[in-house]
């Protein structure tokens, strides 16, 4: 196994024009952790997630995944790096012109090493994992309900067997029942595949059920990071305000 932390942010600062989003932010996430990134609206959680993916470059500081700097110039190193992570976007970001099957098959086909039979089996496997059936596979994303879009997007994020899974608001817009089963699904997958998961969430129930660690983003940096119980006991004013009465749920 690799000794490097899965994600390492060092001194990251982000500016959009005059607006400072992050100032000298550092965070280190080890393999196997399920980290929930919490913070107020507009505190730059999604921005931070996008920086971990290399979609946005920080104004200063460095982002390393699996010990490789995201600014590494070699495109092949970059590509291999991207294949080790899966991202679930907030609204799914399924390719609207492709069916669910083709959406999940897309990253596998892009590898150009696998034959169609292999791809078909893998797609079926992933769809079965997230609880979608063959009937759903032929539908277009526009024909799916919100929960099914999330499931299909998760199946696509898992297609390449990632070691790191990034989730942006995984349960937003799902009814409590669905979000509970989604949480169970991600938890089960994490145990089976040994994933590292980073998720942005507002939902205390999701957080309580899934996360092992919590990172609190406020005042432009990570004000607290640690195991769930430790954060719940913290007396930082933002933490107290965010969890409020739900603090007991975390324990």
């Amino acid at each position: 196994m690799t000794a490097d932390p899965v994600i390492e942010l060092r001194g990251v600062s982000t500016r959009f024009g005059r607006l400072v989003v992050h100032r000298d932010l550092s965070l280190q996430i080890e393999a196997g952790q399920i980290v929930a990134l919490v913070g107020g609206s507009g505190s730059g959680k999604t921005t931070l997630l996008r920086q971990m993916l290399g979609l946005i470059r920080p104004s200063a500081g460095s982002v390393e995944l699996f010990g490789v700097d995201l600014n590494e110039p070699d495109p092949r190193v970059q590509r291999d790096l991207r294949r080790r992570l899966g991202m679930l976007f907030q609204h799914g970001a399924l390719f609207s012109a492709l069916s669910v099957f083709d959406n999940v098959a897309f990253p596998l086909r892009e590898l150009r090493y696998l034959d169609e039979d292999w791809i078909r089996r893998l797609v079926h496997l992933k769809l079965a994992m997230v609880g979608l059936t063959m009937t759903h596979a032929q539908l277009m994303p526009a024909e799916l309900s919100g929960g099914m879009i999330k499931r299909a997007a998760l199946a696509r994020a898992l297609a390449l067997e990632p070691e790191l899974l990034l989730l942006d608001e995984p349960t937003a817009g799902l009814d409590p029942d669905r979000s509970q089963s989604f949480v169970e699904l991600v938890g089960a997958l994490q145990r089976e595949l040994g994933l590292t998961v980073v998720m942005v969430t507002h939902d205390v129930n999701t957080l309580a059920a899934l996360a092992t660690h919590v990172a609190v983003l406020a005042e432009q940096k990570i004000v607290a990071f640690g195991p769930k119980a430790e954060i719940a006991a913290s007396d930082h004013p933002f933490v107290a305000g965010f969890f409020g009465a739900d603090r007991q749920k975390l324990l």
Binding site: R84, S96, A97, Y113, L114, E116, D117, Q138
Partner: protein, 368 residues
């Protein structure tokens, strides 16, 4: 470093070790596949206990190497057995999703039906527009003046530079080529007639229509289309705002109002380009050109040109809005509808131009 997938063989036994994941297997995938296929024929006892990670891609690979059945002797950890078990639970032969190839009558029929649906949609849109117009005449306070003005600015004022540039170059080209011919015949002075009639009556309106269809027509389709994709159109109707009055009407009104002005502007610039080329090529003074233009070109031609502009503008906007409303919520449909909008708009304009030519064949032609 990551441990590579390893494969070794003892008499009657195949031993797998290391990391069997998609990422780790990729560099030597073909080799592994060949080795597995070969080994699986030789031995029926497999030892997977030294495997540190086994993902479903590797599980599928193994399952296929085993020919879709469990080997007789298998040593494997519980976690990995569960992964293999999921692969085993899949139906053995998964058929490829098959779509029957379309037959010729179906293709033709679909095209005809599509064309009919489009025609019907455009007629319906035209009818809706007339109803809106009637409503707005009775309730003048509800006319969306701001949106109309914005559309005149976007489709008209912002198109001035590009139409001027293209008009000028076409004017120069036409004048230059005609001058070469006229010079050999000694009929230099007829350059005024040729340029005047062709540009004012025909080229100006058609040129602007083609440019505007590509520039504003596509923008209208894309805008309405994205508004449909993002449900903004639905949001409008839930607020009790008529989408046809607030979104469609200003676009059609704006372009219909802006087009004659654009035609006038482009024709003027094109004539100016022609005059400059005539000055350089034939030594025809600008003053002579301007003085003789009214004599050579009856003013009816200008009216026809402006009338064409009005009609073309209306047609382009109508076609663009119609296709915008047909966009389905996916990217493929958006691009297809935008393409159809531009192609249909230009075709419709040329068709209307032909009808104009036939109807006005006795008007504005100078009698020599």
């Amino acid at each position: 470093m990551k441990a590579l997938p390893r494969l070794s063989i003892e008499p009657g036994r195949v031993i797998l070790a290391g990391t069997w994941t998609l990422a780790a297997m990729l560099p030597q995938l073909a080799e592994l596949q060949a080795q597995l296929a070969e080994r699986s024929r030789q031995a029926d006892a497999w030892d997977l206990s030294a495997v540190s990670r086994l993902d479903s891609a590797a599980a599928v690979l193994l399952w296929r190497a085993w020919g879709g059945a469990w080997p007789e002797q298998l040593q494997v950890s519980e976690v990995h057995k569960a992964v293999l078990g999921r692969v085993a639970a899949l139906p053995g032969d998964i058929p490829a999703p098959a779509a029957p190839p379309p037959r010729l009558p179906e293709i033709v029929g679909n095209l005809v039906l599509k064309a009919m649906a489009n025609l019907r949609g455009m007629v319906a849109l035209f009818g809706q527009l007339l109803l809106d117009l009637g409503y707005l005449l009775r309730h003048p306070a509800e006319v969306p003046w701001k949106e109309c003005a914005a559309n005149v600015y976007k489709a008209g004022a912002q198109a001035l530079p590009v139409t001027a540039l293209v008009g000028f170059l076409i004017g120069v080209t036409l004048s230059y080529l005609s001058a070469l011919q006229l010079k050999t015949l000694g009929a230099d002075l007829f350059i005024v007639n040729i340029l005047g009639i062709s540009i004012i009556r025909e080229l100006g309106p058609v040129l602007v229509a083609v440019l505007v269809a590509g520039r504003s027509g596509s923008a209208m389709t894309a805008q309405i289309g994205v508004m449909r994709v993002t449900e903004e159109i639905d949001a409008l109707s839930t607020m009790g705002v008529s989408r046809s009055i607030r979104v469609i009407f200003p676009k059609i009104f704006g372009l219909t109002a802006a087009m004659p002005l654009l035609v006038l502007w482009t024709s003027a610039v094109a004539l100016f380009g022609g005059m400059l080329a005539a000055l350089l090529q034939l030594d025809l003074s600008l003053v002579y050109f301007v003085e003789n233009l009214p004599r050579a070109v009856p003013v009816a031609n200008l009216h026809i040109g402006l009338g064409k502009g009005l009609v073309f503008g209306f047609l382009i906007a109508l076609v663009a809005c119609h296709f915008g409303l047909r966009v389905k919520p996916n990217t493929e449909s958006l691009s297809a509808c935008t393409t159809s909008a531009v192609v249909t708009a230009i075709t419709t304009v040329i068709l209307a131009d032909a009808i104009f030519a036939i109807l006005t064949r006795h008007i504005g032609v100078p009698q020599l």
